[in-house]
């Protein structure tokens, strides 16, 4: 769902509708960042964006119920949009697998967006590469099935958020490299120097060869307001994502 995230990030900036509605399916996206980097907030923003498109419900999977609705972008939360977001809380890896494997059993309108927050919490039992790949493949397959049921148009998107470790911790590096093979499009979130009373992030979107790389500055104010501006491009601006990842673009 690189394009949906791009739209979310673009819409928070200067006036303008942002990207055109594309008719093709969008690639699955891996959202990466450390603890507290705003992944949940961005996922939720994407959920609201998709819910507002009127194409189908949004399925939001996370291990624990969100303590509070994450800080939101701009306009007030619309109750109608919230109603279209279905939250499910699979408590274990096994339950998540069961949910994905049985996703075709439920009837009714197919989701237009599938979100998973906190993939790392389902990978804590030190899974081997096969289990990790199985979970990644099932996520893709479930989204593909929903797309098939939606029929024509953009189908069902998929965004998965994964918490990455601090630089220097190589424990998750092999898992990350593996997941990057299944999710060619990635968006990295990294803390940026905060202003007074603000929490700033740098969001770097790598669509995996299917579009231009783009960066934004995401700012959370004290009152919870989230604003997004394109990252100013400067000569000599260093790339941010080389830091914590051992896997790069192929």
């Amino acid at each position: 769902m690189a394009e949906t995230l791009r739209r979310v990030l673009n819409s928070g900036g200067a006036a303008g509708p942002g990207e055109e509605n594309t008719a093709e399916a969008e690639p699955p996206l891996l959202l990466l960042g450390g603890h507290g980097s705003g992944k949940t907030a961005l996922l939720f923003a994407a959920a609201l964006e998709a819910a507002g498109e009127g194409r189908g419900p949004v399925l939001f999977l996370t291990r624990r119920p969100l303590q509070s609705l994450p800080r939101r972008i701009g306009a007030a939360l619309e109750p109608l949009r919230l109603q279209k977001i279905r939250f499910q809380y699979p408590p274990s890896t096994r339950e998540l697998l069961r949910l994905l494997c049985s996703a075709h059993e439920t009837r009714g309108p197919a989701p237009s967006l599938l979100l998973l927050d906190g993939l790392e919490e389902y990978l804590t039992e030190d899974p081997g590469s096969q289990e990790t790949a199985y979970l990644a493949a099932l996520l893709l397959d479930t989204a593909a099935h929903f797309s098939h049921r939606v029929g024509s148009g953009r189908g069902c998107g998929l965004i998965v958020a994964l918490q990455t470790q601090e630089e220097g911790d190589s424990a998750t590096a092999p898992q990350l490299a593996l997941l990057q093979r299944y999710f060619p499009a990635q968006c990295w979130l990294q803390p940026d120097a905060p202003g007074p009373g603000q929490h700033c992030l740098r969001a770097c979107l790598e669509p995996g060869g299917l579009g231009a790389r783009a960066e934004w500055r995401v700012t959370f104010r004290q009152d919870g307001e989230m604003t997004v501006t394109p990252w100013p491009t400067q000569a000599g601006d260093t790339s941010l994502h080389k830091g914590s990842s051992s896997g790069g673009q192929p």
Binding site: H104, S129, Y134
Partner: protein, 134 residues
């Protein structure tokens, strides 16, 4: 999957009763020894496309050992140990013989078809976890 490109020129000849030698050689060049084993699996009707009324589909391949493996072709996954080792961990293979057999079946448009209920399809997708343990 890049290897689909290599299937483009093979497609026509693979629909013939016998595959020309030069195409067999090409398959072996690209995919190594998996190629012959994969063709063998296809010949022996070991590839089954399982679908349910929901429209969801999964492939099941009967391996040479008698065990069946689950393959998710669209997202490139096989439950066999060779996939985990050669493809995921070592990265020196693009796919295992079961996935190659599935792709060949798709190109040659020939494989067993099995219709099951939605519930049974869930079990097939889930079952491979218990197969690993047995």
């Amino acid at each position: 999957m890049r290897c689909f490109i290599s299937f483009m020129f093979l497609q026509e000849s693979l629909l013939e009763p016998s595959v020309p030698d030069e195409h067999l050689l090409s398959l072996k060049f690209v995919f190594g020894s998996s190629a012959v084993q994969a063709l063998d699996l296809v010949d022996r009707q070991s590839v089954t496309l399982i679908s349910s009324p929901s429209g969801r589909r999964v492939y099941q391949v009967l391996g040479s050992s008698g065990r069946t493996y689950v393959c998710l072709a669209s997202c490139h996954y096989c439950s066999c140990p060779a996939f985990a080792f050669s493809v995921l961990r070592k990265g020196d293979s693009l796919l295992c013989k079961h996935l190659l057999a599935v792709y060949l079946s798709q190109v040659m448009r020939t494989c067993q078809q099995l219709s099951v209920s939605d519930k049974q399809l869930t079990d097939v997708l889930l079952m491979e976890k218990t197969q690993e343990a047995s």
